[in-house]
Subunit: 278 residues, 3 copies
């Protein structure tokens, strides 16, 4: 089986006007494509998926079944002349079934999602980023390149996430210091190479410095200096990441900075991380 | 684009017997409507949605794609004569794609959901309530008016939630003090105007008093007096909400009670909260 | 209404080659069944569901709408000759709408899921197991018989979960002691009859002994002896489960071991738990 190809271009797909389909595209049964959509060569749109108006998807992309792209924002329900904002997804995307990407998002190449990721309007995402199953962006936020959000992570509005950041399951970035408030909203800043372990909460306006590590189930209420370990609720600085050792023996004796041993799919896979940094 | 209207009444929708559709209704492609369904004027049912038997939906409602309403309970699988309980959704609902509402729910007007909210049987909900994306009700519980459940919040069976309550992402209300037990189940009571911050757990039978504030990542094991701040695991009372100040300057110098500055969509938007209280 | 039967075998279902359907099977509208699928007698496949290649489903099973079974793994996107691994689901399954089960899973009889459970490749599951709504298995893990995973629980790769285990909402099992790492991954071991309360994190390689109880919002960093109570972040041993009493009076005066009073659907329902143990 090859993604989509066993079904061919299905006659039950529902295709709007001014739709530009590249070569070798496969559209699954009961997919719906609205007006002014552009899809690059050799891409596939899964069964029952909905591509709303003004969406552009790059070449070699695999959109799974029951996906929605260009999802309308709340203005749809209050306006008689709603027009979906332009939405861009770069080449080589893999968007798994049930994921929803709102109108106005701009997503770089090699974007991957698990199932049922929900990414709201105007989320700006670099290249080689993945949203895990049930991961959420509440919109109006910026993520760098090579960011990996695991299962059910939550990125709030106005958050700024750098490059090579890992956020593990159920972690929540927050933007409202005395909820509910619409006047003082400001999300955290997560710098490059940061790792946030599972079930943590990052409070509003906090800055987590480059290469810092946040332990599981922490609540980060203050800035964390670069290369520091913070853990607890509220989180306290307990040392430097370079001091951590692994009791699994000599496989990864000093696990941080993590790019020294973790190469899978990263740009330093060929020449090493130090070469990348130089 | 206007919700649904660009598709018209689609010939591939599958419609049962004794279905009453008001004026101006739009049914998307591949929707399925079972018997004895009533839908009010100017409403839309999205593509691939399923409306089970004995469902009533008020006028001006927008049901998104792939929604299920009147979802059968577990009795379906053990009975030869299952009949779905009547289910009511008030006027002006917006139910976003993938949400599931079980049979036997009664939902007031202006009900909004994000995506993939799952609301089980016999959840009783007031008006102007919203369930965020991935928010859950386990059924047999009661929520007042103007309640806002954010992403992935969980309301347990037998919980009682008052009016104007805010519950933030990943917070869980629980009802079982020594799980698993089916004999001593009793959920918490959350009174009016309470705010529960993200990633908290509210233990069974706890009562949280009016205007109280629960900090992030707390486990509330005892009653919280009205207007108090509780935080920690287990949560301790650390002061009164009226003592909180905001370090964002003079925009919201004293943020609680929150209705004094937060008006968006609330009934005191026009005349002020004090007028509402008088 | 009886599961599926009101719709009959729907002409719009899309059925592949070498598909073996037992007697009395109901296929909903717009379902898609790929090649080499076997479905036992008296089963139902819901509307819009997708059964991928090489899937076997036992008799008397109810597969709800918009379910995916035999979901392709990531190799689909990098291989020209992807062939889905064989996938088995035992008899009497109830898989609710939106759930996704990957190729290569082996699932025992009486498997139940809520909605939107996501179960990745090569998850091996005993009989009478339930995955709640939004529950996740990241794959390559083993669960025993009569395991109950509640809403939004997360089972990591390489986890080993025994029999009669309960895991409550939002609890996460982890396998990576210094993330991200691909060299030192090893999940926890949860022995028989263990109960893990809501919002907990079980750290890698930890062993939780038979009949132990983990309190809400705990982070378990060390082994927990059998029949012990552990609570906190990091979790500390605070006593034996046999010492717990219930302040609800004489209904369940000593709630642990829980099988002494909890019988619903368990094999000791008829003759009692002691008989089962003897």
């Amino acid at each position: 089986m090859k993604s989509g190809t066993s079904l061919g271009v299905h006659s039950t797909a529902d295709i709007g006007q001014n739709v530009s389909l590249g070569k070798g595209i496969v559209i699954g049964p009961h997919a719906i494509i609205y007006d002014n959509v552009t899809i690059g060569d050799d891409s596939a749109i899964g069964a029952q998926s909905i591509i709303y108006e003004n969406v552009t998807i790059g070449e070699h992309s695999h959109i799974g079944p029951r996906v929605s792209i260009g999802e309308p924002t709340a203005e749809l329900y209050s306006s008689d002349s709603y027009e979906g904002a332009p939405t861009y997804i770069g080449a080589d995307a893999i968007i798994r079934s049930g994921s929803i990407l709102y109108g106005g998002c701009e997503i770089g190449a090699y974007f991957h999602t698990g199932h049922y990721a929900v990414i709201r309007e105007r989320t700006i995402v670099g290249h080689h980023v993945s949203f895990g199953t049930f991961a959420q962006s509440d919109g109006d936020c910026v993520l760098g390149n090579y960011v990996r959000l695991h299962y059910a992570t939550h990125v709030c509005r106005t958050a700024r996430v750098g490059n090579y950041v890992w956020i593990f399951p159920y972690t929540v970035l927050t933007n409202d210091i005395h909820p509910p408030c619409m006047l003082c909203v400001e999300g955290p800043t997560i710098e490059d190479y940061v790792v946030v372990a599972t079930h943590s909460v990052i409070m509003p306006r906090v800055k987590i410095g480059t290469h810092a590590l946040i332990g599981a189930n922490s609540v980060v209420t203050k800035d964390v200096p670069r290369e520091s370990i913070a853990i607890g609720s509220p989180a306290k600085i307990v040392g430097l990441v370079s001091s951590l050792t692994c009791d699994f023996g000599d496989r990864v004796p000093t696990p941080y900075p993590w790019p020294t041993h973790f190469v899978d799919g990263y740009p330093w896979e060929e020449n090493g991380w130090q070469a990348e940094q130089d």
